[in-house]
């Protein structure tokens, strides 16, 4: 089935439109969490610690770099399949899965260090906000890594061609959205 057969009356691939509608709900999901964070932070301005005194900013800076790289490898994979270059798609997807897994590994290491230092989800309001926001984001990255792995396997089975690559494009939309959310979380949780 080619991509043309999925074009609905609006002139858009219905699978892509569905993903954008899902992402719209995700925007509101993360807005709810970030809104709660803002309310709690403003209500506790005097006791709120400077993030850099609690969190490991250089390590998270590297993790942010890794996530940005993973978005780049995925778009290069997509560009490859659009040109009919299967190996490029496979390498791009593999690197994205690898970088996403490294991101999660570093986040687990960060959690371990923080919990070891007594900074837990119940130790302070900052702790609750931090683990809730980064935890939900991490869960999204985890889901993304699993989804990308499935797409990687499908790419080896020859599912994607220059005429049919929606499977790559749609997982890409999700993955870049997760990257975009991290850009915001890194700024408001770690830097401000």
């Amino acid at each position: 089935m080619s991509q043309q057969e999925h074009i609905g009356r609006l002139g858009i691939d219905t699978r892509k439109l569905g993903m954008w509608i899902f992402l719209a709900s995700e925007i509101m999901f993360f807005t709810g969490l970030i809104g709660s964070y803002i309310v709690l932070r403003f209500a506790n301005l005097h006791t709120w610690p400077v993030p850099s005194t609690v969190l490991n900013i250089p390590l998270t800076g590297i993790n942010t770099f890794i996530l940005i790289c993973s978005s780049a490898t995925l778009v290069l994979g997509l560009a490859s399949v659009q040109r009919g270059y299967q190996e490029g798609l496979q390498v791009g997807l593999f690197l994205t899965v690898l970088l996403g897994s490294i991101f999660l590994g570093i986040q687990m290491h960060e959690y371990q260090e923080l919990i070891h230092d007594g900074f837990t989800i119940s130790s302070s309001i900052f702790g609750s906000c931090f683990f809730t926001l980064t935890g939900f984001h991490g869960a999204h990255v985890f889901a993304g890594v699993i989804w990308l792995t499935v797409v990687l396997v499908r790419s080896f089975l020859g599912y994607f061609t220059p005429e049919e690559y929606a499977g790559v494009e749609i997982v890409g939309l999700y993955w870049h959205f997760v990257d975009l959310v991290w850009i915001i979380l890194f700024t408001i949780l770690y830097l401000i």
Binding site: D13, A24, I38, F42, H46, A72, V75, D179, I192
Partner: protein, 93 residues
């Protein structure tokens, strides 16, 4: 009809390097000896540029049809509205 599916290809490398440089700028700004409100405004501004770059070029929003913009802009408006409203909330000291 074919053109509806094949995206114009943005300069992905330029977007990647921009994101990297903006992240470094953010870390420098966060540690700069500036007034806190100025640091916060600058960091939010830099994060918004980065988020826009990802949405416009990596997510190909720049090349999408108007209906996709509607799907995205409506919750985005609500997101900004909610954030501004909770920011304006008064809290006891």
């Amino acid at each position: 009809m074919e053109e509806t599916m094949v995206h114009k290809r943005p300069n992905y490398a330029a977007v990647f390097w921009s994101l990297l440089i903006l992240t470094i700028l953010e870390i420098i700004t966060a540690n700069a000896p500036l007034a806190k409100p100025l640091v916060v405004v600058t960091l939010v501004f830099l994060a918004m540029i980065k988020a826009s770059l990802v949405a416009l070029f990596y997510m190909h929003l720049k090349f999408e049809k108007f209906i996709i913009y509607l799907v995205v802009l409506f919750p985005l408006f609500l997101a900004v509205f909610l954030t501004v409203m909770v920011l304006a909330d008064k809290h006891p000291a």
